[in-house]
Every structure is written in C-alpha cells, then in structure tokens.
C-alpha cells in the first residue's frame, strides 16, 4: 500500500470500524480523547519548559499561571482518567465474562469527562482563573486576582468530570455485583467481599485446604479497590467545588462572603486528604492492578504470591486514607503527631506496598523466561522503573528533616511527580494500550515497529531526564510554581527542556503510528455509531 492508502485506510486496510461492537468503539473513543488531552498537556508542558528558561513575552505571567493550573488537571482528568476509565470499563466485563452493567452510563462518562475538561481548560485559557490544583484557601475566592465568572465555569468543568467519574464508579461496582438477564443469581455479597480483598485477607490466616476461592480475579479486585478511592475523591472535589461556587456566585450577585469563615489549615487538610486519594490511592492501586494484569497476560501464568498481592492492595487502600499529612509537613500549625504518624510513618508504608507490587510483577515475569521483548513488556518494564525511581523520591521528601529544604522545590515536581506520572503511570498505560490494541480493533496491525521503539526510548529517556534535571535544580533551591526572570537555573532548565522535547517527539511518533495503523477513515469510524449489540464486548470477527 502506498502512503496515501495507508493514511486513509490504515496499515494493510486491516482496521474495519464497521466490525466493532459499541463497547470496542467506546474504549477507542476514550483512548482518542485521552491521547488528545495528553497532547494538550505535553504542549502546555513544553510552553512552561521554555518559560522556565526565558519568560515568553507573548505570554503574560497571568496566562502562564493559568496554563500551570490547567496542565495537571488536563493531564490527570482529561488524559489519564479517560484512558484508565475506558480501559477498565472494557476490562471488568472482559475479565468477568459478563456484559457491562450500562453502556449508556459508560458513554456519559466519556462525554462528561471530555466536555468537562474542555470547559475548565477554556475557562482558564480565556479568563486566566489560576488558583492552581492545590486551591489553597482563600486563593480560589480571591477576586482581586481572578475573574469570578471564569472561576464559575472552571468549577463547572471540574464538576462535569466528577459527575462522569461518579457514573464510572457506579458502573464498575454494578458490573461486578449484578446478575445479567437470563443468568443464574450472582452472589453479590461474596463478590463484594472478594472485590474488596476481605476474603483474600482472611485466606492469609487459613490453612491451604480451608482457603476460599477468589470469586473476583486479582486485576478486577485492584480496579474495585482503586474505584473506592476514586469515589471518595469525587465526593471531596465536588464538595470543594460547591464551596468555591458559593463564594463565586455570591460575589457576582453582590454578596461578598467572609473568607475567614473557612479555616485555611482545616481546608488544606480536607483538600489534601481528598487529593491524596488520587495521588497515593487510586494511582498506586490502579497501577499495581494493571501491572498484575499485564504480567499475567504477557506470561500466561498466575501471579506470584497472589494472596499477598491481594492483601497488599487492601493495605494500600487503608494507607491511602491516612497519608495526607505528608503534604503539610511545612505547615507549622499542623500538629506534630500528624506530621510524624501520618506524614512520615504511614507514608513509609507506600514504599512497602509499592515495593511488593514491583517485586511480585518482576517475579511473575521471571517465572516465564524466556519472554519476547514485545511493546507491552518493554513499556511495562519502563512503568515499573518509573515508580521504582519516583516512590523513594517521595518517601525522602515525606521526612521532617528533608521536607524543610525540599518542600515546593522542583525536587517535588520533578523526580517525584513527573517521573511517577510520565514514566511510571503513562508507560504502564502505554503498555496496556499496546496489549489491548489488537483486541479492541479486531486485529489491526501496528504501522511501524521502528516508531514504537523510538516512542519507547524517547519517552523513557525524556521522562527520566526531565525529572532528573528538575530535581537537580530543586536541590539547588529552585522553587516550583514561580517564575525566574534572570536565568538563575538555566543550565538545568535547558537540559530539562531538551528532555521535554524528547517526550513531545515520542508522543508525536506514537500518535502518528496509531493514526497510520487505523487510518483516517478508521479514526472517523470510531466516532460513528455501531450497529452491533451493546451487550457484546468483542465482535465475532475477533473471537
């Protein structure tokens, strides 16, 4: 096939959108939306990388901070939530061999996350509402710096995403527990206990012959437990959004409410408790569950130390509810016992739970030697390396002594946050995309393996390199969330910018590879309605 034919019809014309089920199309829509928003986040990231070297005169500082506010939210909600929710809405019914509880609700999740992200992004772009994702009170209600109308639309966008998230949570739990039409009655209670890991936990204390069978596979159990944190987080963010909205609307109709009515420290505790359900809860739990699934799919073997893995996921869930205080170690009014108990000690458990997941995944892969170095395997190894680098960096900053000289520096956002998200999380997601690609496309072929290899190395080196140079600048005192006007840290920022360029090139190579694999007609076909049954997950062509 020549270039034009491949561009229009995909590699060897193998991708036929008409053969896709509604569920397959829905997953692909989630992925396309997720990748587009990932592109947004990468471009925003590059603008900020340039700004850190030399402020761009065409972009005033208030626009820069609006970008800084939108960037993590577009990355987490618009991109990661889209890809993860799409994959899990497909995988839970796929692994449980039963239809999704509600296709319509899943469709609404996709629409709400897509439009919600666009809404808050546009609000930030046009009105420069920029209280950052941390929203430290009373900054979100500071109308001397921010337009209240812009803030209202910003909060509305976030609320739409959270509503889509709530629909996802309902759909996942209903799918695990419900009895499909014409099926024998499903044991909902036993399924729930298995999904939450309670039956797995009790198995640890039973003799082998008395151990209960796991009704829910380990990846589904991980998805269920991560979904608990997703639900709690959605509740916190919705509540916070309503609180801010009351102030925003009050100001617009002429009633300025007293900012001091909300205690800033209490708010900070509340907010970080909720936000850590993403950062330290669902990310680590979802990632561990995805590692387990990928390791089992790649090797075709059972997971190493399965009962321990199940118990560790439950432990991680509890840990994620009690670690928030490591974000308040530089807050002198925060009680000392919370800093030590929650901030230091409980946080150290994340080294253990994530270390367990790391070891169990590697041991499972090792048990199946020799393995072919496929795209899913190499990206899985990249994801494992990302968290192996980022989690210890986080444990170091969650220390009373070290936090005093690391908090709010580039160390936090470089070796910890960006390496965790870009290398650890994103490479894990890429692994899942590469492994699911033939399943959800009914056997479409990847256009170029050379581009996939470039994608891997450019992303890995770019991600680790950018985090490393940001970290080095942080250790030299460079703050995050500010602007340096005189090139104080230019050596590190230029090197970080080069690594950021590698990340951008990696994404472009991947995007081009996927578009050429499915073709332009294929991309359009993903967004046209399917004529097949909503309850069928994968069409007969694939089976």
């Amino acid at each position: 096939m020549n270039f034009k034919d491949t561009f229009m019809n995909g590699e060897q014309g193998l991708f036929k959108p008409a053969t896709l089920t509604p569920m397959q199309k829905l997953v692909l829509r989630f992925v396309v939306i997720g990748l587009i928003y990932y592109g947004f986040a990468v471009i925003e990231g590059m603008i900020m990388r340039i700004y850190q070297i030399q402020p761009i005169s065409a972009i005033p500082d208030y626009q820069y901070f609006a970008i800084l506010t939108a960037h993590p939210l577009v990355g987490i909600f618009g991109s990661t939530y889209s890809i993860v929710f799409g994959a899990f809405l497909f995988l839970v019914p796929f692994l449980m061999k039963k239809p999704l509880w509600s296709y319509k609700l899943a469709n609404w999740t996709c629409i709400l996350i897509g439009t919600g992200t666009l809404t808050f992004w546009l609000a930030g772009f046009f009105t420069h509402y920029a209280p950052l994702y941390t929203l430290y009170w009373p900054l979100p209600a500071d109308f001397s710096q921010f337009n209240p109308l812009g803030g209202t639309f910003f909060v509305l966008g976030i609320a739409l995403v959270m509503l889509g998230t709530v629909f996802f949570v309902i759909n996942i739990f209903k799918t695990i527990l419900y009895t499909p039409e014409g099926w024998e009655k499903q044991p909902s209670k036993a399924l729930f206990l298995s999904a939450m890991g309670l039956s797995g936990m009790t198995n640890l204390f039973r003799k082998k012959e008395n151990q209960k069978e796991h009704l829910v596979s380990l990846p589904v159990a991980a998805i269920a437990r991560g979904t608990v944190d997703t639900a709690l987080n959605a509740g916190i963010i919705l509540f916070t959004g309503v609180l801010i909205l009351v102030y925003l609307i009050g100001h617009q109709i002429g009633f300025d409410l007293k900012n001091s009515a909300v205690d800033a420290l209490l708010y900070k505790n509340w907010f970080w408790w909720g936000l850590d359900l993403i950062a330290d809860g669902l990310v680590l739990i979802f990632v561990a569950g995805t590692w387990y699934l990928l390791a089992m799919l790649i090797t075709g073997k059972d997971l190493f130390m399965q009962n321990i893995a199940r118990a560790a996921l439950l432990l991680e869930l509890v840990v994620s509810w009690t670690v928030w205080s490591h974000h308040l170690m530089s807050d002198q009014a925060q009680p000392g016992f919370l800093k030590v108990a929650s901030g230091e000690m409980v946080t150290a458990f994340e080294l253990i739970t994530q270390g367990l997941a790391f070891f169990i995944t590697l041991a499972t892969l090792w048990s199946a030697r020799p393995l072919k170095m496929t795209n899913p395997l190499k990206f899985l190894l990249g994801g494992l390396l990302g968290f192996a680098l980022a989690v210890p960096a986080g444990i170091m900053q969650a220390d009373l002594g070290l936090n005093r000289i690391l908090h709010n520096t580039q160390w936090i956002i470089g070796p910890h946050v960006h390496v965790a998200i870009l290398v650890g999380l994103t490479m894990t997601l890429y692994s899942a995309i590469y492994i699911l690609f033939p399943i959800v496309t009914n056997g479409a072929k990847l256009y170029s393996q050379k581009l996939a290899n470039f994608h891997f190395w450019a992303h890995l080196i770019g991600g680790i390199g950018m985090g490393a140079f940001m970290g080095m600048a942080g250790l030299k005192g460079m703050l995050r969330r500010t602007i340096y006007l005189h090139g104080e840290f230019n050596l590190y920022m230029i090197l970080a910018g080069i690594c950021g360029t590698l990340l951008l090139l990696a994404f472009l190579a991947f995007f081009y590879n996927i578009v050429m694999s499915v073709g332009l007609k294929g991309v359009i076909g993903i967004f046209t309605p399917s004529k097949l049954d909503e309850k069928v997950l994968v069409s007969e062509v694939e089976k």
Binding site: Y64, A130, Y136, W366, L371, G401, T482
Partner: protein, 183 residues
C-alpha cells in the same frame, strides 16, 4: 548546626547512587528475561527478605534523619526552646512587613521567625546569594507560623515567598535583608 547544603549534598549522593543502581538492575532484568535460565522460580525466602528490607528502609530513614538533621528535633521541640532573637513578620497584599529594614542575627544565635498572613496562604523561605535554599515554611492565614533556626556562620540571606499566591506572588522577594554577623 549542620548547614542544610551539607544535608542536600548527602541526599544527592544517596539518591543518585540508588537511581543508577535501579536503572542498571532494570536493564539487566530486561536483558535476562529474554533468555532461558537454569531456574525460573523465585523463592519465597527472597520475597520475604525483600519485604523485610523495605520495612527496615522505610522506618530507618526517619530515625536516621531525626538523629542526624538537627533542625528536625528542634522543630518539634521549638515551643520549649528559648530563642535568642524573635522576629514578628506579617504578610498582606503580597508584601512582607518586617519589624525592621534588616534582620540582624548573631552567629550561633537561635532566631525565631513568627510569620502571620492577613489574607492568603504564602510561604516564607531564606535563600543564600546563589539562590539555594536555607529553609522554608508555609504561611497559612489565621494561624501562627513559626520557625526556629540556628545560624552557625556569618552570611546574608534573601527572604522569598515559597508558596504560590496568585500571579502577584511570584516576585515576593526581599533581597539580602537577613544578615548573620560575627559576635
């Protein structure tokens, strides 16, 4: 008191060594799993040894830093320690309001910085002339934000807000306003 730069140098060496080791380990692992080996099973002893190592590392990090980084203990006990100098500083409208034009501290003195905010959440940090950080804390409105620090050598420091407080807060810098002088 040990200079915070010494602690940062130690951290740089420790983390860099770890990062190089884990990258090499993953490269070795990635190469090894593509080849046949004598044994493919991982022993449970190795697994439990690894878990024990993680527990020891997780707990010992904080014990080691608590006993080697002097400001960690001083921070928790600061209410019981008598400061040689006390500076009451307030922050409002993206401005620092200092008790005097310069804050003069004698070498080896323990100085207490009491910082309050009348509007937004800010940060309070002292920076050396090469832009590296000596220490920082958050400044939350409605609460007393206090930090005790012992200065063990002469120097000049810049005060800078270390927390985002909107676009106006990015340049909250008071250059060279803290002077530590020899007795």
């Amino acid at each position: 008191m040990i200079d915070s730069q010494v602690v940062l140098n130690g951290q740089t060496i420790a983390y860099t060594s770890y990062a190089i080791a884990i990258i090499l380990l993953m490269l070795w692992f990635g190469n090894k799993i593509t080849k046949s080996g004598k044994t493919s099973n991982v022993s449970s002893t190795l697994f439990y040894s690894f878990v024990t190592l993680l527990i020891v590392l997780g707990v010992s990090l904080h014990i080691v830093t608590y006993n080697t980084i002097p400001w960690a203990k001083m921070d928790l006990d600061r209410k019981e320690i008598k400061a040689d100098k006390v500076f009451d500083i307030s922050m409002e409208n993206h401005q620092f309001i200092l008790p005097s034009e310069k804050l003069i501290i004698n070498v080896n003195d323990k100085a207490m910085f009491n910082v309050t905010s009348k509007d937004l959440t800010y940060g309070f940090g002292l920076f050396r002339s090469d832009n590296s950080m000596l220490f920082q804390m958050q400044v939350v409105p409605g609460h007393l934000n206090d930090i005790l620090w012992q200065f063990d050598k002469p120097g000049v420091y810049t005060i800078r807000s270390t927390e985002y407080s909107g676009p106006k807060g990015a340049q909250m810098i008071l250059k060279d306003v803290v002077e530590v002088v020899a007795n």
